[in-house]
Symmetry: C2
Subunit: 205 residues, 2 copies
């Protein structure tokens, strides 16, 4: 069942360029030809490898987006330090456009989710799954923070996770143009402010 090297390489090129352009212009606003022209490939080549545009995008989600979100937003949570600064750091990092490329991976989720909402339930679900994984991990790391005494006992971890995700997603809508330093700075500052309110009351020594 293994794919030939040539096939694998072409599909990989298609997915990479596809993510780049879909992310830039949106899925429905990008025609297959937009992508194929850039790669000097033909319609025939495309449909030789993918069943449909939808199938193609799902490949992109599962091969590229999942990994990227996981690496940026889930993996970093796997430490045993105080979770709050770890979360701040991961979000800050996710909002940073990649060093080598121009994609701000942290944004893609919000953009695509909004685009597919009400238009393609299947793709929506794949994207929602990614958010869910993130959320579950946030909750569990927050709960651990509670046990370790970094977070006050009264805190509703699910609520906090939801609020973190919402504010992060919402930043996208505001940072429409180029990634705006000012907005990012404000966001991180307020996030820290909010996190402060989750810490346990200081017990005087």
């Amino acid at each position: 069942m293994e794919m030939s090297l040539k096939r694998r390489e072409t599909m990989h090129r298609l997915c990479g360029k596809g993510l780049e352009i879909f992310n830039e212009k949106g899925y429905y606003n990008t025609s297959l030809d937009d992508i194929l022209t850039e790669l000097d490939l033909s319609k025939g080549a495309f449909y030789h490898h993918f069943k449909s545009k939808e199938d193609y995008f799902i490949s992109i989600v599962q091969n590229l987006i999942v990994q990227k979100v996981y690496a940026l937003l889930v993996e970093p949570l796997n430490t045993f330090e105080n979770p709050l600064p770890i979360i701040v750091e991961s979000l800050e990092n996710a909002l940073e456009p990649g060093k080598r490329n121009e994609m701000a991976y942290g944004f893609m989720l919000n953009d695509f989710l909004t685009e597919f909402n009400k238009r393609n339930e299947e793709i929506s679900n794949y994207l929602k799954d990614i958010i869910n994984v993130w959320e579950v991990n946030l909750v569990s790391v927050l709960k651990r923070g509670k046990v370790d005494g970094h977070i006050a006992r009264h805190v509703d971890c699910e609520g906090v996770a939801t609020y973190i995700i919402a504010s992060f997603m919402g930043m996208r809508t505001l940072m429409i143009d180029n990634s705006n330093r000012q907005l990012k700075y404000q966001y991180i500052q307020q996030l820290k402010q909010y996190f402060k309110s989750l810490e346990p009351e200081r017990v005087l020594a």
Copy 2:
């Protein structure tokens, strides 16, 4: 220069139904015929009143969305009480689907902004203007709260306004399906938690 009554009424019907369906299915995913069929009108009638689909949507933004956002999110800020609970209340209210109709006006902004971002700069700008008005009003009401001693002096009002807007917008992406009570509750709770951290230190009597 005044419009005939008939003309005004037809345009009004078109805008109302247009907002309803655009909000439901998205602008690019709604064809003019989708709307015209529902109103028993023809292409001819439409183009007799509007120059283009784009022009039509701009009318909707300026006649309906602006007013609605203003009424839900800006007007309520005009009191002289403690701004923080007022803001919470306005957001809570904006997330509530309208009593008589099904539209959750608070959401429209985020949906449309994301949809037009990268696709239609002119419309994007009209929508961004609305956000700006909201932001400016939030900032000024927060500053007044500082003067009145409801908000701690160290607080960065612009940052807080940005954070409020971001989290509000982000809720949309999460509340994809029907308005989810649970999510809304979590959001409001955490917002209150965050706001607590903006209050001045209690001075012991």
